[in-house]
Subunit: 208 residues, 2 copies
Amino acid sequence: MRRDNISMAVIRRMPKYYRYLDELHQNGVDKISSRALAEQMGLTASQIRQDFNCFGGFGQQGYGYHVETLRNEIASIIGIDRKHNAIILGVGNIGRALIRNFQFSQCGFSLLAAFDADAAMAGDVINKVPVLHIDELERFCKENRVEIAILTIPSKYAQTMAAKLTELGIKGLWNFTNVELKVCEDVIVEDVHFSDSMMTLCYRISEE
Amino acid sequence: MRRDNISMAVIRRMPKYYRYLDELHQNGVDKISSRALAEQMGLTASQIRQDFNCFGGFGQQGYGYHVETLRNEIASIIGIDRKHNAIILGVGNIGRALIRNFQFSQCGFSLLAAFDADAAMAGDVINKVPVLHIDELERFCKENRVEIAILTIPSKYAQTMAAKLTELGIKGLWNFTNVELKVCEDVIVEDVHFSDSMMTLCYRISEE
């Protein structure tokens, strides 16, 4: 059902659809109209239909969507029904927060290990995730099919580490360092730019 | 120079422009053409000109932009040249990471205090930010003009806390809990949805 040239705006709405549909399903909702879903999500019904049409469309006009089926179809479009191996680089506060609290498996990932340059942390286990010394990185990536690396290291090491991970065959970087990473085209970088988010909030409250 | 009805897509690009221009300025770059800026940012020159036109436009065709002037104009549009008082609720790993590492002042905010329900933390000072017990929240908000609250508390407390903060006159919430907060229209919520970002990465690597 995957199509080419789907805009990032549509792609970025898919996880949101998934979250809402999953919540509806948890709450025992069986069916929902595009209008009702639109109202809950702050979108328009026609936008929802347009978004879904990018992937072939789901449900029947007027009949509404079967919540669980739609949730599962979107899960499969996003790819969270498959398991992608991930590692995390940097066991500082953000790294620790993600290891302890983030539901990787619910997002299609399996967090295999964490790495840190601090030898004192090596051997620790946080929320069932082993912490290894950074010197183990190369061996580990060669022995395990690691697809994603999460960067929660200090900014000054970000670009060097991104280059090393690219060499090691990493397909995607989840980047929490506030650095614009330069990597080859076939590596995907998903930035979590706290400052952009905070500045956007700044703009919006200034506007009020 | 602030205009009405500027799309969120344009608004969300402004912090990125700011980051790039600030970096160029730090690197001693004096002038840049919209084409060169576009190439660096992965946008088109016409998109940049369109974005800037929403705010009245900057620079002269063909002449290029004066980096420092443009950076300052954008800073003033975003509102980071003013100081907005902020507090943070929840001193767990993410809260601590933000207090220790996030450059609030560079985003237009002044972090006055942190609050936690754990009485043992009260009295701590993290990176010059005092930690107060949550019971102090009401008094503190009445005595200080707090505009922004950062929510890094457990999800189950998020909605109740959002409602309380709204009563206390908070104008904006920076929401790190994975909860869709329901607040009155004049309160602005900026969500940091880690799961949406991770699921987007999941989609994009699955697509490769």
